[in-house]
Amino acid sequence: MKMWTRLASAWRNLFRSTTVERDLDREMNGYLDLLTDEKIARGDSPASARRAALLEMGGVEPVKERVRDVRAGQLVETALRDLRYGARMLARTPGFSLAAILALTLGIGATTVIFSLVYGVLFRPLPYPDDDRLAMVAMHFTPQNAERGPMSIADYLDWRAANRSFEDAVVYQFDRFPLIAGDEPAEITGATVSAGFFSALGVPPLAGRVFGAHEHEPSSDALIVIGEDLWRRRFGGRADAIGQVVSIGSTPHTIVGVMPASFHFPQRDSEMWANMRPRPPSRRGPFFLAGVGRLKPGVTLAQAQAETNTIGRAIEQANPRNYTNLTMPVVPMRDVLIDNAGLVLFVISAAVGSVLLIALANVANLLLARAATRRREIALRLSLGASRARIIRQLLTESVLLSGIGGLAGIALAHGGLVLLKASDATPFHRINEVVIDGRILAFTCVISILSGVLFGLAPAWQSAQETPNVALKDGARGQTSGRTRRGHAVLIVAEIALALILLVGAGLLLRSFVLLQRANTGVRAPVQDVVTLGLTPPARKFRNAQTNELDRPRVTAYYTELVDRLKRMPRVQAVSVSDTLPPNLMSWADSFALEGQTFEQAQANPTVPLPIVLGDYFRTLGIPVIKGRAFTERDFHADAPSVVLLSASLARLCFPGRDPIGQRFKVSGWSPNNDDYSEVVGIAADVPYDGLQNSANAQAYYLPLQPANVMGTRMAVIVRGDDARTFTEAVRRELRAFDPEMVVSQPQSLDQLLSASVSGQRFRTVLLTLFAGVAILLAAIGIYGVIAYAVAQRTHEMGLRLALGAARHDVFRLVMGDAAKLTAVGVVIGLAVAFVLTRWLSTLLFGIGARDPLTFAGVSLTLMAVALMAAFVPASRAMRIDPMTALRQD
């Protein structure tokens, strides 16, 4: 019963507080009146009676305060009152509040979004059940020389036969499917997969079914499984899509199932999977399959690795001509999808952590300074009877309120930021789509928020409440900041500057590296806006020999030769070429080679390099200078023409040092015992990278003409050069459509689009880091300004004294700037020292400069010093203009 009444009272106290207060006020004044009346009745004058009554009562307000103290629900009510008071206080100094909230918002928001990113990409399990049981299987051998290279059908069959560690030995191949459903043929990214693919990944289909184990024979029907998005987009999400027959490059395929939208293996945009129906291979190569498998329960990664290596040894023994030192690396799937992303994210996280620290240091400084300016107010309240605990609690509430608002704003920023990141294509990370702001990170942010509020609110609150009110009231604002506080300010500022410097060094290095990368020699001299490329996928059946079902190579050459001729005749077109490889990073094939007179062992040591197969005026179209000899001519593309090859300059230097490479003999694709399949080197082209701009320094490659003997596939890119590509691109598309309406043509891309796309990853991280550095420098500048301005305000009296005693104005100016310069210098030196140690980790991300590049270090230090001095300039000039009279009189 008692508790009930108390609860009811608490309710009333909280929600009818105005009424309750009014009643209390009336009651107290009523008491005062009655007491006064008593005294008047005893003979006092009304005035002295009232005075005596007040004295006896002890004052109306203190009594009210004591009544309030015992009220039920007092804790909550006090908290609410503190919050309201705190909010009013914050609103009173909007500059400070905004600066602190902004600092916290930026720090916390950026932290949350990046940590969500790091977590989503790196730490969160892949969307396949028990994903730590999934592994990729690759091949590593000479002469392929790839760390984790592809395997061939023959390798797959051998592995599958001997496999005991994985539930299934599965392989897949990236593929692009020209889907003809409706009017516009479209190219769908996906994969051709072997038996056991879907069960290995363990994701059940959304509708229909997946391929059965028996549906991977050469005689099986052509089937596909489509992704949910594709299903909804092209088939309206209808159930009758299952079982529907569609044309993939003019071969009918039956849709048997739909995978959920969360499933996109092996790539972000994979939407279609076809059943692999491998025919028994006639030779070991080509190598184009990736292996994957789910470990059987109880089998460890090490055991699987041992088994595959045994299988590798067996394959090598059976085929010594094709493999040397063959191993089959088994790699957990998660590690495959990461590579450099781990380092990049780590660097970015470190950067963001620094920004957060700078932000928090700023807030600390601001709170420290503000606490000092409120000494008087606090002293006054202490003398009026407020308890120390109450004051501490109030100041604490203010700081918590501040960091709460900062935290909430930061969370909002984080959500918005993540949406922005996902929408922009600048993030090359594999699982960006699945990244969400998850609850744990939210909680982490909130904890940081509250913790920072408590931490920074505590020190000044404690300090303010410790001293006796007397001291503060007497001294007023002239009270000197204790040496300890001033040292605290100095330490914080030095730390801020050091952190900002480290960040700036990192950003500077990446920025310079990026600029150098962009200016890297692409080898292509054609004006980038004059060249356009389009991807071509003609229907495969056109090139299928009706009897043998093999690829009809001469037909491929003839087809593309005719296409090139047609385009060449178009107005405004200067040069046309067809190629299966595009600079700077779109290569198709890579292969090794052998030189005349080399033994088998020697030839094994030759590197594997990109090998563009081209038709038409390839070198003229892209503006690649042919330094020596000649480019390919029409004769070279005929079936019976002698085999010729062009080498890149660096490859020529490697193969024929000191000799004239023209006329030398060059065996494509590796050693052979026969002497008659050597090609003749007819020309040397300038270096052009096909493996990414970061490899432009050593861009070895060799070129083959698209004669029937060299035809490898039917998908090509057409490259057209003319006067301002924008004007003739549409005409080219029309001409292509007229030439072959069944051919799937990809979106046209200009040369600079290709170039810029190849560095999009680097661009993203450079932009991101530069952004953070910018924020850091801004925060540091604000911090310096605040601290110096505050110091000047505190020392106004002292400066006025100096001026009155004869100091020149510019002496005062120099004094202030000198202080700022000293602080900055210490910060810069510390920052440089730490940066010197840390940047070592960045070296894998850099291009063209070392991790200790002196130019960057020096430039950044100077910039930061300049910014710091600029920030100190305003308060310093204000100090200069102090009127000694006002300063001395100032309270």
Partner: protein, 110 residues
């Protein structure tokens, strides 16, 4: 007046004072002075917190009324629960005082 014992005593005195009829704050203070023969003079700073606390505990109820000289004042009266509490505390107090008296006599006897 700050310790628990004294607070309990004040509560008891207030309840007793109001057992004699409803009264406003000043009046309760004067009445307490009367019934204790001047031993306890309760100031506003102790009285009103106690009154509000007792009211929130449910032993008193209050309402606005007019004093003798037509001043508006808040009047308190015992609730039924308050009456019961008064009886209980009175008994408790007697018990305690008897025990303490006995204890004090025992000490002197030695």
């Amino acid at each position: 007046m700050g310790t628990n014992l004294l607070q309990g005593t004040l509560d008891l005195l207030i309840l007793k004072a109001l057992a004699l009829g409803e009264m406003h704050g000043l009046g309760i203070s004067r009445r307490i002075g009367q019934i204790t023969d001047g031993a306890f003079q309760v100031g506003a700073g102790s009285l009103f917190p106690a009154l509000h606390r007792l009211e929130e505990a449910g032993w008193l109820t209050s309402s606005w009324g007019e004093s003798e000289n037509r001043r508006k004042a808040r009047f308190y009266r015992l609730s039924r629960a308050g009456r019961r509490q008064l009886d209980a505390e009175t008994q408790e107090w007697s018990r305690i005082s008897v025990a303490i008296a006995a204890a004090l006599r025992a000490t002197h006897a030695t």
